[in-house]
């Protein structure tokens, strides 16, 4: 039961842990980059058009 826990093996050499940490960092950098690539894309005009229409709808409806 206990041996099945996903905790790191205490006997694992620290070099392996360092390596895993570096690898995680490389993955993390890429992950942020992947996200930011989309954030930095130009927003299609469609978005603002839709928002403008929603705004106008509100203005017409009053309430």
């Amino acid at each position: 039961m206990i041996e099945n826990m996903p905790s790191p093996d205490p006997r694992k050499p620290s070099a392996a842990l360092d390596e895993a940490r570096l690898r995680q960092q490389a993955i993390g950098v890429r992950l942020r980059q992947m996200f930011d690539d989309v954030v930095n894309e130009d927003v299609p005009d469609e978005f603002l058009d839709i928002l403008r229409r929603a705004d106008e709808k509100k203005a017409e409806q009053g309430s």
């Binding site: 996200f35 989309v38 954030v39 927003v43 509100k58």
Partner: protein
């Protein structure tokens, strides 16, 4: 604009203008989050647009000054899962099995290829993928991610850490789909191996 209209909307109108300005600034982030959920760019933009309109329609229930980014992400996420009625939970892979296959790579600092990362992410259980994206890429604190995903902070922490380990394992074993063929084959082989090992104990 009539006098009544001006009076009626004097406060609401000012709030709406501020809300809209903030919402417009969030569009790029909503698109990015949607892209990680949908994969397909067109479907993602549809989702982001739906979320944007839903946020706009629900603006009265938003408390100005609170975290609008987290609020809109929550709307987008709810929208995604309400559309996706398919049982995504059942398609989850055995995470621990994937983690047990973790192996070292020649150069841990070697850049991670974008396609591989995308495919690796696609193999993660949805709840782990979104937790990792929110915290690891979206810049949310665990507490905010927990709010967005409607779960406990500890749950988010555990999902993020499991996602990190699994992604590491998937990328380093090359279990992602290399040539556009059947994405899960390599992963299934790994999982079968791990399954055999774990039942043998």
């Amino acid at each position: 604009m009539s006098v009544e209209t001006a009076t009626r909307t004097s406060r609401d109108g000012a709030d709406d203008v501020g809300f809209k300005r903030e919402l417009v600034q969030l569009i790029p982030h909503l698109r990015a989050f949607a892209r990680t959920l949908c994969g397909d760019a067109t479907a993602a933009d549809d989702l982001a647009q739906d979320a944007m309109v839903k946020a706009w329609d629900a603006r009265a229930s938003f408390q100005m000054g609170t975290n609008m980014k987290a609020w809109t992400f929550m709307i987008l996420r709810n929208q995604f899962y309400s559309e996706k009625r398919r049982s995504w939970r059942q398609t989850q892979l055995d995470q621990e099995a994937a983690e047990r296959t973790l192996v070292a790579v020649d150069d841990p600092e070697a850049p991670v290829a974008l396609d591989e990362l995308r495919q690796g992410l696609a193999m993660l259980p949805a709840e782990q993928r979104e937790a990792l994206i929110l915290v690891g890429a979206g810049g949310f604190a665990y507490e905010e991610a927990a709010e967005i995903c409607d779960c406990a902070v500890g749950t988010v922490k555990s999902r993020v850490s499991r996602a990190r380990r699994a992604l590491h394992a998937i990328l380093d074993t090359g279990a992602y789909d290399r040539d556009g063929a059947s994405a899960g084959d390599a992963m299934r082989a790994i999982l079968a191996d791990a399954e055999r090992l774990s039942t043998a104990r």
